[in-house]
């Protein structure tokens, strides 16, 4: 399923827009300016040109669904799969689901988990540590959230066990057992991946209270409403079965939204920003916080009540509660990163809401099953709910149904193929041939030099200068040789390099950019060879990007110094000359 903004996109593409409705959902910027001139409107073509089929044929219509909340990214799995996005948050999905399964399994077991468990079943502990450790390795954002899920599952199991043994759980014993079970796993999860941690660097620079306008409730509904409603409504049915426990857990569950809210107040106060924090959020922002807080409270309460009864739905309720906590948390805090200046919470909302999608999806699936089963058995299912639930489910299905044909041109486009370079063959045949030649002829470990992406021009003194802000943007041309051939290149797109490695790596990033750029800039032959040896390079690429980044006489000639290995049109690959006297006996 996808964002509920898709039905609006669909209607807008066919010219069916209503300013009132679109305005209420904060989507008035998707109404074409040609139809209604307003401050924010869609500057592209009007409706007839936005589609010629039953689905929107407008270029990249599938994209806006991931940008509904302004200044953030609200990607969701259906979008990721359509994009073919190989970012860590997508590649980690199988591992995250495995971790959720492991957590559910840990919760459902009966015996107490403590260090004795490891002595009895050491392999299980080792495998768990391998999986937990891999979370950091795959996508560091997932480590905190999903190891917390696992830890909570262990604590909940021990708590239930203690309660059943003694009537009231002993807190000290509970803490001791849980810690003695979790600590060895945590230590091993780090130790097993020490070689990776040795080189790991992050752009994360701490956690701060978010001060600014919060998410509009309408936007939150479009992005997360479907799953929250599904999880919330259907789990309510299960909650009925735990009626006797409601009063006990209602007060305790208040802690779950209360604690982060209190922390936000304290942190904002400590930073001397409480006044601004209270003012800037605005009415809609506070309303949003209240809605999320209630959802967190209700779902946490449901999870606790169901857990006490060892009800099957407890795990799903807990997942839903944690999903809601993540959404709530991304309204209160943000992780400090490279986007701190203009888009402080972009990554935080992006990564936490993606995790929330996963958690809520699992919870919603279980919840829907419970609701359907209840409906079929004629209990726990008010009939009037069927219509809105069905409508929501259908609305959620619109995104994949209309955007898949949008992306593939109704499956008729020649580039509808799993070959990710097919578009290149059509649009830039020389670049395609270049990638294929490198794939076929350059040994896997050989270092290839390609343009760093910085734009060069003559300065006032006639010397080559980097054009400020003229660097390559985030597109497929950034680090193209590395990504299309898998061959090592010295530097990728600097934007990602900084994001992945943190600002501490800035010096090294610039050093590499300088080294690469000075291979292309005019220099004497000895300097060229020295630079190539420093880079450990075996090949130099001169293609469209290089000719564009080093225009005219800003690029030196390699003829005569390097071996011309391949040529097609203006695209060339040069090879660093090889000479080695080798013993054969």
């Amino acid at each position: 399923m996808g964002s509920l903004s898709a039905p609006f996109e669909w209607a807008a593409a066919h010219g069916q827009t209503n300013e009132g409705v679109y305005g209420a959902f904060g989507l008035d910027y998707r109404i074409s300016c040609e139809l209604e001139q307003r401050e924010t409107c869609y500057s592209g073509a009007a409706a007839p040109a936005r589609t010629s089929e039953w689905y929107p044929t407008e270029f990249w219509n599938w994209w806006p669904g991931s940008r509904v909340i302004p200044n953030t990214i609200t990607e969701f799995p259906a979008f990721s799969f359509l994009l073919g996005d190989l970012h860590p948050h997508v590649m980690a999905l199988p591992l995250v689901l495995l971790m959720l399964g492991l957590s559910a399994s840990a919760f459902r077991g009966r015996s107490r988990l403590s260090w004795r468990t490891h002595r009895r079943m050491s392999i299980e502990g080792i495998v768990t540590a391998v999986i937990v450790g891999a979370l950091a390795f795959m996508n560091a954002w997932d480590l905190l959230s999903f190891s917390l899920v696992f830890a909570l599952a262990v604590v909940a199991r021990n708590w239930r066990r203690s309660a059943s043994e003694r009537g009231r759980p002993g807190m000290m014993a509970l803490a001791k057992d849980s810690a003695s079970y979790l600590l060895p796993i945590a230590v091993l999860a780090v130790v097993l991946y020490l070689p990776w941690y040795r080189d790991f660097s992050s752009q994360a620079g701490g956690i701060r209270p978010y001060i600014g306008r919060g998410t509009l409730p309408a936007h939150a509904f479009l992005q997360f409403g479907l799953l929250l409603c599904a999880a919330g409504l259907a789990l309510t049915f299960a909650f009925r079965e735990a009626r006797s426990k409601r009063a006990d857990v209602a007060a305790a569950a208040l802690l779950v939204p209360g604690a982060p809210l209190l922390a936000w107040f304290v942190m904002a106060y400590a930073r001397g920003e409480l006044g601004a924090a209270l003012d800037d959020r605005g009415t809609s922002g506070w309303l949003m916080l209240a809605i999320y807080a209630v959802a967190v409270w209700a779902l946490s309460g449901a999870a606790l009540a169901l857990a006490a009864r060892r009800n099957t739905a407890a795990v799903a309720a807990a997942f839903a509660a944690l999903g809601a906590v993540l959404l709530f948390g991304s309204e209160l805090f943000f992780i400090v990163d490279g986007f701190e200046g203009n888009l402080p919470r972009m990554n935080t909302v992006f990564k936490l809401s993606y995790q929330a999608w996963t958690l809520l999806s699992v919870a919603a699936a279980v919840a829907a099953t419970i609701a359907l089963r209840g409906a079929l058995r004629g209990r726990n299912a008010p009939g009037w709910l069927a219509a809105p639930a069905g409508a929501l489910a259908l609305a959620g299905l619109v995104y994949p149904i209309i955007e898949l044909p949008n992306m593939t041109g109704g499956f008729n486009r020649e580039t509808t193929t799993s070959d990710s370079l097919a578009f290149l063959l059509q649009n830039e045949p020389e670049e395609y041939a270049l990638a294929r030649w490198i794939n076929a002829n350059v040994p896997p470990g050989a270092v290839v030099i390609e343009a760093s992406g910085r734009q060069w021009a003559h300065g006032a003194d006639g010397q080559p200068r980097v054009v400020p802000g003229g660097g390559i943007d985030y597109n497929t041309a950034a680090g193209r040789i590395g990504s299309r051939t898998g061959r090592p290149t010295l530097i990728g797109w600097d934007g990602h390099e900084v994001q992945w490695r943190g600002s501490a790596a800035g010096v090294e990033i610039v050093r590499r950019q300088e080294l690469v750029d000075h291979v292309y800039l005019p220099s004497d032959d000895a300097s060229l060879i020295t630079n190539l040896r420093t880079a450990g390079a075996a090949y130099v690429v001169v293609g469209r990007q290089e000719l564009q980044r080093f225009p005219g006489d800003l690029m030196r000639s390699f003829d005569g110094v390097l071996d011309l290995a391949w040529e097609q049109g203006s695209t060339r690959v040069y090879r660093v000359p090889a000479f080695e006297i080798a013993r054969t006996s």
């Binding site: 071996d563 000479f579 006297i581």
Partner: protein, 549 residues
Amino acid sequence: MTPDAEEAAPPGREAAVNVSAETLAWLAVAAVFVAFRLGAAFEAPVGGAELVHLSGAWQARIGVEDSRFVPTLFQALSALLLHASSSELPSRLLAVAATTTVPLALYLLRGRLGNAGALLALLLIAFDPLGILLGGTASALGFDVPVAIWVFVALSGALPVSQRRALLAVYALLGLLVATGGPFLLPLSLTVAAFALFQRRVARDAAVVLAAGCLAGVVLTSVLAGEPRVAALVLFSAGFEQAWSGPLAGEVLILYALPIVAPGLAAAGLLARNTLSRRSADRHEALLLAWSALAGASLLLSLTTHSFVPVAALTLPLALILGPAASRAFGAMWRADWKVARVALPASAAFALLALAVSFDWARDQSIGGFSEKARVAYFLVAAVGAALALFLRRGSGPAVASLAFALGGVLLVTGAFGMAVHPQGEPLPSPFCGAVARDLRDRAVAARGESEGSIVIHDSLKDQATWPFRDSGNVVFASRVPIDAAFVVWPATLPAPAGLKAVEGNFALTASLHTPLNDGLDYLHWLIQRNTLAIRPATVAVYTRQGQ
């Protein structure tokens, strides 16, 4: 002699005759087993995995660092043997010697597989073309087949060692051999690890010494390599990048392994079903099933690699499953109602042969005949299949149909085995290979250098290919530009001729490959009937000398 003794004598004599027949059968199959591998050792060209690994061993022997020297224990010993002789033969004989222990291992497995089952399993392994190549050549995996078999013997409890301490020593040695072995052993190693860790089917002290042996093996490999390394993993990865065989793994499966893999999978399926239905499995059966499953998964992953190893790694456990199954099938066939079968089966075979005869004509002409020929083939095939099917469905006669499968599988297996053992130069598997042309090229180069006192120059893109044929040739220059003092230049044929040099007439190549006969069905059939006529595709190089030479 007492009356009792007189009565007991005839059965005693019968028993003696029976034992002799069995022994003879075992000796005959073992002799065939060894003979096939010796044939390959003396006849096979150095090609595929062997070419890569011997090149690595040679580099180690002369003290040059090279990623092709992994090493496995076998490759390390190969490097040592190359000190004694620069020929591949001593290393190959070492592989044959190690593989010769396989018949003994199968003999010990009689208690687990049954006497006939073990003998048939040995027969299948003896005739397995992939096993013949592995056991008769000096790839880094030279010890893998015997190590795998002996690990299986040990874990099946069939080792004739009664003392616990001695048994543990054997386990430690096997652990060491596994850890210094190649990727052929990975499916079995993972199976054993899973059995030891999760199923607790391996005794704790045995598991500990096995692990200790493995650790020692990893340490030994790491010391030899100069960095932490598990040889099997390095080679598993290399198998995806290097050319260990001319055909892809999927093609190797079709060309050489179908007679074992197809019935083997069916037998494994039956065994799995029986195991599941009785909810318990003998240790060796469970081990074989898990080993086969992992080897199958590994093969699926590797279908598009130029490597025969994943296929060979599957044929071994399947042969061990298929042996006892074939023995039971023979029994059932023997007991079947042959009243109708003795007519229907020859009829079916005759129809099939008629269809094949026409198809062979098509294969020779490389074109399918006209409508009437197609109709005839279709008719013969329908008649052949129909007769077999009718017989199969007839009560009591069904098992007799197995004789057709045995005949077909036997023919394919025997032709494959003889091809690999007697004339491996004509087989597409050990490719790309380094033939006599390459060594001749080397001799010319050395002679030219001797005459003009210049240097032998080889284009650096040919460096890896040149290692083996140019071994023991003194200093050779690998360069992308021809230096001034070049006396003899080996250059890619696709590159322009270097200036100031004279081209030498002739067809030169450092390596060559044989065509993989799987363009279409006719191509395959043509290869079956005329096995040694595959086109050779040399990786042609150009040769230049200084003007005036």
